[in-house]
């Protein structure tokens, strides 16, 4: 397994290089402080720090014994994370078409299933109940124009 410091060090390093390079595309307009100054300072610092992290990771990797694997637990955890994030993403897509009132109970029910809720009556009660309460508070009291389906 590659130490996470190496992965994160590399990612932040690439990110800082990319953003630093992007500052050269900024137009030459300066009112006391050029728009490039702050991002360049930040990206240079980020680059230095991520190099440090990368070095720490390489050192750690050398010292590290083959790690004991708790892979099964990790895999289930990761799967739940992916499912929940996917449910969240689908919710933001679905809400556009079906509106808040339809998409939200589906999302809450999906999230409850990912959190291993087994009692179906709880799933129905909580998903519908929460949607109703949030709808009442935000739509009726705060007058937030929640996304809606044609009929709502």
């Amino acid at each position: 397994m590659i130490a996470s410091e190496i992965v994160f060090g590399a990612v932040f390093m690439l990110l800082s290089i990319f953003f630093f390079a992007m500052t050269f595309t900024f137009p030459e307009i300066t009112i006391a402080l050029s728009p490039t100054v702050f991002p360049r300072f930040v990206t240079v610092c980020l680059f230095l720090l991520s190099s440090l992290l990368l070095i720490q990771g390489i050192r750690k990797q050398r010292k590290q014994q083959p790690a004991e694997r708790r892979e099964k637990i990790e895999r289930v955890y990761l799967l739940r994370f992916i499912l929940l994030a996917a449910a969240g993403f689908l919710y933001t897509r679905l809400i556009r078409y079906t509106g808040y009132v339809v998409a939200t109970p589906l999302f809450i029910a999906a999230a409850m299933l990912v959190f291993a809720e087994k009692k179906w009556y709880r799933i129905i009660l909580i998903s519908v109940g929460t949607t109703a309460v949030l709808y009442l508070v935000f739509r009726m009291v705060f007058r937030v124009p929640l996304p809606r389906f044609g009929l709502w």
Partner: protein, 494 residues
């Protein structure tokens, strides 16, 4: 007396007082639930605050802040899991007391100590803040820039175990803050011609994602684990008169210690409560009884951590710099509801300040009332399964992100930062420095720009002011102290 009467009549009016009660009660619940901290509570409250008057929003926020710090003690005592980091020291004696069947008394003492700590720190805030604000009126952009630099050094103290990871998280926050329109030139930096990126990432969804959504993802690790609960019957909330007399000699000094620690940026409730605990044990006639269920071991940290609340508000209100994570989120919250903390707030909006002072004080009495009345309900709060709690909070996070700009894009931003925050936290990158970067970065750049405009581009203006030099000096001290502390804790760890 007029400001006091003004504040009282505002806060106690029927259209404002219920919000304070909801804030405090919500804070206690959020603080008591492990996994939800004061910062998460404040963030979840933000979408509601947006529809209130600034002063009402501010007193509700204060209620949530104080309530959450107190609420952390409940789960610390009942199930040995501190609800917030600042209640970690309360576990040491609180949990043994609960195991002896004295959970009621432990919560009662925690409530009395928290209230006393809160009242003392509120009084200090009321007396110190206006003086400091008057002094801060002399500050120009140079001094403010130095102050923001000092505020950013708090990153080092909230970095957790790895300074490098904390700093990376902080600079990543600064980088995110630099996306969008540059205030001086109007140029949209790093927007890649995407219209949504022109104004940068909206702050509320970023906060919701980094703190709340990432926490929900983290909680997936607890799926299938048995929920800790407290099943004994709770009785006897009040300590005896004799116990009370001996405890008050612990509570009052711990409250002042907490207030003092709270005023210093980069500290916070966790440090104050451990310091108060250690000092109380050191001066105790019976130090060996600590850790086995000594009431003073609950009173001291609880007085100290609620003592930090009023203390931490001093630099936040007068100078606009946050002292720790919760106050950093508070700063973000204040900016979102249109209140810009700083000395001008005292001059231009005294009614907001009056309401805040009175609201903060009343919040302490509400903690006392709700804490003592709710003792028997608290174990039930802890029984809420995570399979209900977190899906509901997730739905609230999405709705909160949407509601500010009525934008589905904002919901996606919250999800994106939730995922980023999850990966970062899972690999030891703390979220707090990033939030400090996101909030303080633009403020620092704005002040730097203003200073340079006034000096016609002469950078030496930054180091000409003695006040600015003073802040640079204490910034260096603050970072050195954090490095020293980190080194010591690593040596202890070995």
């Amino acid at each position: 007396m007029s400001p006091l009467v003004d504040g009282l009549s505002y806060v106690l009016s029927l259209s404002h007082f219920p919000f304070l009660v909801i804030g405090v009660a919500g804070g206690i619940v959020v603080g008591a639930l492990p996994g939800l901290t004061g910062s998460v509570g404040i963030i979840l409250l933000l979408p509601f605050l947006y529809y209130l008057e600034p002063a009402t929003a501010l007193i509700m926020l204060s209620g949530m802040f104080c309530g959450a710090i107190y609420g952390g003690s409940i789960s610390a005592i009942l199930i040995s899991t501190p609800g917030t980091p600042s209640a970690a020291a309360t576990v040491l004696d609180g949990y043994p007391l609960a195991q002896k069947g004295e959970a009621g008394k432990a919560i009662g003492v925690a409530t009395i100590a928290s209230t006393t700590g809160g009242i003392i720190s509120t009084l200090c805030m009321i007396f110190i803040s206006p003086q400091l604000a008057r002094f801060a009126l002399k500050f120009g952009p140079e001094e403010y820039f130095a102050l923001m630099v000092f505020g950013l050094t708090v990153i080092a103290s909230v970095s957790g175990r790895s300074l490098v990871k904390g700093l990376i998280s902080g600079f990543f926050g600064l980088l995110i803050a630099s996306i969008g329109i540059d205030e001086l030139t109007g140029y949209a930096r790093f927007s890649f011609d995407v219209p949504n990126l022109m104004t940068g990432f909206p702050m509320l969804p970023v906060l919701i994602g980094m703190f709340a959504v990432s926490q929900i993802f983290m909680e997936l690790g607890n799926v299938g684990k048995k929920l800790q609960r407290y099943d004994q019957k709770i009785k006897g909330v009040f300590p005896t008169w004799k116990e009370f007399k001996s405890l008050i000699t612990v509570i009052i000094p711990a409250s002042f210690l907490g207030t003092f620690i709270g005023i210093i940026p980069g500290t916070g409730g966790a440090i104050a409560s451990f310091m108060a605990y250690n000092e109380t044990r050191r001066f105790s006639k019976d130090p060996d009884s600590f850790g086995k269920g000594n009431l003073a071991g609950v009173a001291a940290p609880e007085a100290a951590n609620n003592g930090t609340t009023g203390g931490a508000m001093v630099p936040l209100l007068t100078l606009g710099i946050p002292g720790d994570v919760v106050t950093a989120v508070m700063l973000g919250a204040l900016l979102l509801i249109g209140v810009r903390p700083g000395p001008l707030l005292f001059q231009q909006n005294p009614q907001i300040i009056n309401a805040l002072f009175v609201g903060f004080m009343l919040a302490q009495f509400l903690i006392l009332g709700l804490g003592l009345a709710g003792v028997k309900v608290f174990p039930r709060i802890l029984k809420v399964p995570i399979s209900i709690l977190f899906p509901v909070i997730f739905a609230l996070c999405f709705l909160g992100s949407f509601s500010l700009n009525n934008s589905i894009y904002d919901m996606l931003v919250a999800l994106l930062f939730g995922v980023i925050g999850y990966f970062m936290r899972k690999h030891g990158f703390p979220a707090a420095p990033m939030i400090l970067g996101v909030i303080l970065g633009p403020l620092a750049e704005r002040e730097l720009g203003k200073a340079l405009i006034m000096s016609h581009g002469d950078w030496s203006t930054l180091v000409r002011s003695p006040i600015a030099l003073f802040f640079y000096g204490i910034s260096i001290l603050s970072v050195s102290y954090s490095l020293l502390r980190l080194r010591r804790s690593k040596q202890k760890g070995k």
